[in-house]
């Protein structure tokens, strides 16, 4: 006997894995299971194909529990906490971001997300000097000089080169790769070096010095040194001529600048260089952002609170102070007394001491899959994975929002629904809240 199989192909699917946010995937679904993924890179493909592996289960203190009981337990922890933390939110979507911030507002929590430990220094640099930038389509259509600095898109953002920046053909770049000069600058050779015409290897911790040198050269000063950052000065002079001679240049940077000594000051120096170059030509810069939808969380947090990360609501209104309210510092100093980790594996990614504190406090983990965090959390709430089993919106690295589709069903609720239900339960535990303050009007 044969049973008719349900087969369908979902087109224009947006991939949630990295900030390239490809939206041209074709997902083949058979009997509610993903069988194949077309157009995606290996990272994106695996995101869909392995979405059922290692799924989390609902539990409290290690014992199986209903979703409802888990939500109640989570609300109990959060309503009792004096200085809670809500963290994660990279592998989820806009509506969940909204709800997470609403919850933070309600309970006076610290709220931070994965940007804090990836491109937050880039955000701080932009707050300091601004940024001349563009959407990726401008690079596709116009860029004749593309520089990757402290970044390895060949491995972290695999389709960036083919869709936006290196080989792609656009309006004024009809020959694609032939119309572009590509330069890679880093402390080590990586697969990205192989895409480039030129690779310049600099010494670790020398980025700030090199940017300052380049800016000085752009501004017509010469330097009385033979090398900077382990590279002969003449090479930097040549690079400045290439940059000034480009019709449309773009400098993409990665965490090679943000995670190393100097942090945001490296990026400040880079952005100043890009700004100065606009006296001669069009020259822009952009961070290669995004594991998952970190950019989206920064967007929603900014429009709801004014600040892109490290927000504290303990005084009833949003305050922002990296170093004080940023997650690594809050945990490193052992300050928070409860945490909700959602759509990110905090314990698997944090410095040991920060992870240690998380293990010592009431911890709630909301995640589709088991992780280092779910392993030790007091409450585990499995969620439908955004972009696979829950719809929504994700942001590309250049702040362009794209719709996420629900490709298959999940037995579990979405992040958005889980947060919404936690909010309702927290509100129920605070009867004074939500009451109308307006006095009744006289009838007449």
């Amino acid at each position: 006997m044969t049973v008719a199989k349900e087969m369908r192909v979902v087109k224009d699917v947006t991939c949630p894995f990295c900030g390239v946010t490809c939206d041209d995937l074709e997902v083949h679904v058979e009997d509610g299971k993903i069988r194949d993924v077309k157009n995606a890179c290996v990272l994106g493909k695996d995101t869909f194909l392995h979405h059922l592996e290692g799924l989390a289960t609902p539990r409290i203190d290690g014992k199986p529990a209903s979703i409802e009981a888990c939500i109640e337990a989570a609300a109990d922890i959060l309503a009792r906490a004096k200085y809670p933390l809500i963290y994660g939110l990279d592998s989820t979507e806009l509506h969940a971001h909204r709800k997470a911030i609403e919850l933070a507002d309600l309970i006076g929590a610290n709220i931070d997300h994965t940007s804090s430990v990836c491109h937050a220094p880039s955000l701080q640099a932009v707050q300091t000097v601004g940024i001349p930038s563009c959407t990726v389509g401008e690079v596709k259509n116009r860029a004749d000089l593309v520089i990757f600095w402290g970044a390895n898109p060949a491995e972290a953002h695999p389709r960036h080169a083919t869709r936006y920046s290196v080989t792609v053909k656009g309006m004024f770049t009809p020959q694609g790769r032939k119309d572009r000069t590509v330069i890679h600058i880093d402390v080590r050779r990586t697969p990205t070096s192989r895409m480039a015409d030129t690779f310049i290897q600099i010494k670790p911790h020398s980025d700030y010095e090199v940017f300052s040198t380049l800016t000085a050269l752009v501004n017509g000063h010469d330097l009385d040194v033979s090398e900077v950052g382990g590279v002969p000065l003449q090479e930097w002079r040549d690079l400045v001529e290439v940059m000034k001679g480009a019709k449309f240049g773009i400098l993409y940077w990665g965490m090679g600048l943000t995670m190393t000594r100097g942090k945001y000051l490296n990026v400040v120096a880079l952005l100043r260089l890009c700004q100065e170059l606009n006296r001669f030509t069009k020259f822009l810069g952009a961070p290669l952002r995004g594991h998952g939808n970190v950019v989206g969380m920064a967007q929603v947090l900014t429009w709801q609170t004014g600040f892109p990360f490290a927000v504290n609501m303990s005084r009833g209104y949003p305050r922002f102070n990296p170093g004080e309210f940023s997650v690594a510092d809050l945990l490193g100093r052992g300050e928070v007394d409860a945490a909700l980790i959602i759509a990110a594996d905090a314990i698997g990614n944090f410095p040991a001491k920060a992870a240690q504190h998380l293990k010592s406090i009431p911890l709630i983990a909301v995640d589709p899959k088991e992780s280092e965090t779910t392993k030790v959390a007091q409450v585990v709430i499995p969620a439908a994975q955004a972009a696979v089993a829950a719809e929504g919106v994700a942001y590309r690295m250049d702040h362009i929002p794209l719709p996420l589709k629900k490709v298959v069903d999940s037995p579990y609720p979405s992040d958005r629904e889980i947060l919404d239900r936690i909010i309702a339960r927290v509100l129920a535990k605070r009867p004074d809240d939500g009451a109308k303050r307006a006095a009744p009007l006289p009838r007449g």
Partner: protein, 113 residues
């Protein structure tokens, strides 16, 4: 005999792929515990491909496996993962970002296991 290096961490394609298999998966652990080192440095430390080495910072230590890489002498590379986390301190110099790249580490051959 311990030697000082600068350790760079980062993403690799394999780390990005195997993460979907779960953080206990052998492929994932193999990827995030592989330390890339310049062959000249390996010779100086008297370690061979696949040998275990101990990395030590002010914040902790990890034992990983050595492999020949294209990194310049004095530099090491390892993919993000639990082996790096043990080496990173929580200080952010007021930025929110721990020192996750360009970490100063002491390296020695590990003969314990």
């Amino acid at each position: 005999m311990a030697k000082s290096f600068i350790l760079i961490t980062g993403r690799t394609t394999k780390q990005g792929r195997t993460i979907h298999l779960g953080k206990q998966a052998k492929d994932y652990i193999d990827e995030v515990s592989a330390l890339e080192m310049n062959p000249a440095d390996m010779e100086a430390l008297q370690v061979k491909e696949g040998d275990r080495v101990r990395l030590r910072t002010d914040h902790g230590s990890s034992v990983v496996r050595c492999k020949k890489g294209t990194v310049p002498p004095g530099l090491l590379f390892i993919a993000y993962g639990q082996f790096v986390n043990a080496l990173v301190g929580p200080d952010t110099q007021g930025t929110g970002m721990p020192n996750t790249k360009g970490i100063e580490v002491e390296v020695e051959k590990d003969d314990s296991g």
